[in-house]
Amino acid sequence: MAKIKSFAELKKIKEDVESKVALREQGENIENLVNVRVAMATCGIASGAREVMNYMVDECAAQGIDNVVVTQTGCMGYCYAEPTIEVTLPGQDGVVFGHVDNDKAKEIIGAYIKNGTLVDGIIPQTHKTIE
């Protein structure tokens, strides 16, 4: 570890390490955040869900969107439309999008996550999650 030589340097280090605890701070506040759940069962992963998940995390960071939590989940049952993701805006019901590739993910971030505008590719929900 190099010595911290000024207050500005400490602030710089904080910015660098902030992401380490970001997940934990999100956890404290999860109901006020946008939740993105990526279906990551075998079919999802085979169709590229992991790449989409990584893309969403990186893209949100790149655009400076800090109110999105991306988590993985199991099979949602829409195997014909993998990769599928479910986006839940605070206080609203989740919306499931199918056939999500990087381009679609970008569209979802730009339209639905940022502005609440729905985009094509919504799968009518046939399931209800019991919490």
Binding site: I4, V17, Q26, E28, T71, Q72
Partner: protein, 597 residues
């Protein structure tokens, strides 16, 4: 930087560690490797979550799922189900004992709902061994702000304006203490952190040091800047090995980052910290005794003045604060004194950490705003009394405090209200007692402690507490006489008035407060020779109830002195002259046919 999408936080406090938390971490890591999730999932050991009753605790983020009573063998299932398949493992979730509802998010648990965490803000969130975790949570920003943007006088003013009072028990305004120490000129001054936590059942300071050691280090540096000291000492009990280990690691890391040592952040400000181990003498929590112990002298108090602020460690101006007091400081400096002052009550600002222990459902560590009522703490957060029994009293303030009863349940907790109610805040131990707790026996327990811990320097404390203890022993054995009650009271007052330090001055409090609140229990012991709570063995006798005994012979077989006689399927009888009152028959009987009288 880290691309982990999921973090599994495992409690690494002493309680959970002794319940195999380390093995849980190892097994979780193995399971994650097995499922090839090493790039996505990180396991982090943190400080105490506070919910010790249900430990070990594993919390999964970002979805904030709170698993309780996890054992190492559960690791594989947690990873395979929750992480890989995204399904919660219901059997390990917390169940609300009243509604039987399964709760997965800790924020929805009654235990956490009424809490507000300032001193414990990082406990259960950061890895105590990772300085970067602390920095990411605004760590060392407060000391940076102080030494680059504020004068020492301004720092003192902020602490004064915040209304923070000493959390070690005395409740003295912290800012004022800093101001005194700052006011004396000297070639060397000292900052001492009092981590000599000694009240029975109290573990607030240990948990803070184990869970968030950097907050204390940062606060000590701030104090050093404010009063003009370059040296800090932590006086910590040698019985706290984990806290010592984590504190040492934290000090080393801070030094390596240049956050301790010479020329901190290029400002020319110098500050460093060393540890001194205490041997666990209760009186060393008193600041003058603590200083003598650090100097290698006997841990005995001396009269004040001079106060340590004028002539403390090696005769130099010294500021002594408790661990929890320090843990509040960085937050106050960052968020401002108005923010802090707005929390709590008018005369007791902020929050207080309590260690809940005794006959309560949720044993653990909690932090609530001052002004929260005892009822909220015991019933809402603590989950009420164990086994559905009746609440009798709660002891606060340790051996210096007193018992609070049913009538005090709705008193808002703060320094002044507790004193008015006949107890005191103390360092934050809360021992809850139910209908089976005998009050003279409780008073005797605390007196045993003070007799043991009296340093022996002044006569009232050394001999007086011993005499008090003898009187209580007589009463509990059924040999008490009416005049003993007057003697207890008179002697108690004399000891209070004439002892040298706080230990002796407060030692009679458990007696006086229980005599005040439960006079009938003392009288029952003395006049009727009975212990209403059924705790004092000498005053008990066991009897078999004729209607209930079916003659199963279980009691006769378990009796170690063979004093129970009777034939199969016929009434059994206890020979009172031979009975040693061990209670074995009482525990064994399945038909509730044995009663204590």
């Amino acid at each position: 930087m880290s691309n982990y999408k999921i973090q599994m936080l495992v409690c690494g406090g002493t309680g959970c560690k002794s319940a195999e938390a380390d093995e849980i971490v190892t097994n979780l890591e193995k399971a994650i490797q097995k499922h090839k999730m090493g790039d996505d999932v990180q396991v982090v050991t943190t400080g105490c979550f506070g919910f010790c009753e249900k430990g070990p605790v594993v919390k999964i983020l970002p979805d904030n799922t709170f698993y309780v009573q996890v054992v190492p063998a559960d690791a594989e299932e947690l990873v395979a189900e929750h992480i890989v398949k995204g399904r919660k493992v219901e059997r390990l979730l917390y169940t609300n004992p009243d509604t039987k509802e399964i709760i997965s998010d800790s924020k929805d648990m009654d235990f956490y709902k009424k809490q507000m965490r300032i001193a414990l803000r990082n406990c259960g969130i950061v890895d105590p061994d990772a300085i970067d975790d602390y920095i990411a949570r605004d760590g060392y920003q407060a000391v940076g702000k102080a030494i680059t943007e504020m004068t020492p006088q301004e720092v003192v003013k902020v602490i004064k304006d915040s209304g923070l009072r000493g959390r070690g028990g005395g409740g003295f305004p912290t800012g004022l203490k800093w101001q005194f120490a700052a006011g004396y000129e000297a070639d060397q001054k000292y900052v001492i952190c009092n981590a000599d936590e000694g009240d029975p059942g109290a573990f607030m300071d240990r948990s803070i040091l184990e869970g968030d050691p950097h907050s204390v280090i940062e606060a000590m540096a701030i104090c050093g800047y404010a009063i003009g000291a370059t040296k800090g000492q932590v006086y910590i009990r040698a019985e706290y090995p984990l806290a010592i280990k984590r504190l040492e690691k934290a000090i080393d890391d801070a030094r390596e980052y240049g956050l301790l040592g010479a020329d901190i952040m290029g400002t020319g400000f110098e500050f460093d910290i060393e540890l001194t181990y205490g041997a666990g003498a209760f009186v060393c929590g008193e600041e003058t005794a603590l200083i003598h112990s650090m100097e290698g002298e006997r841990g005995e108090p001396t009269t004040k003045p001079p106060f340590p602020a004028e002539a403390g460690y090696w005769g130099k101006p010294t500021n002594v604060n408790n661990v929890e007091t320090f843990a509040n400081i960085p937050a106050i400096l960052i968020k401002g004194p108005e923010w802090y002052r707005a929390i709590g009550t008018e005369k007791s600002a902020g929050t207080k950490v309590f260690a809940l222990a005794g006959k309560i459902n949720n044993v653990g560590l909690i932090e609530v705003p001052m002004g929260t009522t005892l009822r909220e703490v015991i019933y809402d957060i603590g989950g009420g009394i164990k086994d559905g029994k009746k609440f009798k009293a709660v002891q606060t303030g340790g051996p210096s405090g007193g018992c609070l009863t049913e009538k005090d349940l709705d008193t808002p907790i703060d320094f002044d209200n507790l004193i008015a109610a006949g107890s005191m805040m103390g360092s934050g131990g809360m021992i809850v007692m139910d209908e089976d707790s005998c009050m003279p026996a409780i008073a005797k327990f605390y007196l045993e402690f003070t007799v043991e811990e009296s340093c022996g320097k002044c006569t009232p404390c050394r001999i007086g507490t011993k005499r008090l203890h003898e009187l209580l022993e007589l009463i509990c054995e059924g040999k008490g006489e009416k005049k003993h009650l007057t003697e207890l009271k008179r002697l108690s007052r004399t000891i209070k008035d004439t002892s040298l330090c706080g230990l002796g001055q407060t030692a009679p409090n458990p007696i006086l407060s229980t005599m005040e609140a439960f006079p009938e229990e003392y009288e029952a012991h003395i006049i009727d020779k009975k212990c209403p709570a059924g705790e004092c063995q000498s005053l008990l006798s066991y009897h078999i109830i004729e209607d209930k005994c079916i003659g199963c012979t279980a009691c006769a077989r378990v009796c170690p002195v063979n004093c129970i006689s009777g034939e199969v399927k016929k009434l059994h009888v206890i020979d009172q002259s031979a009975c040693i009152k061990c209670g074995a028959c009482y525990d064994k009987c399945k038909f509730d046919a044995i009663e204590k009288r």
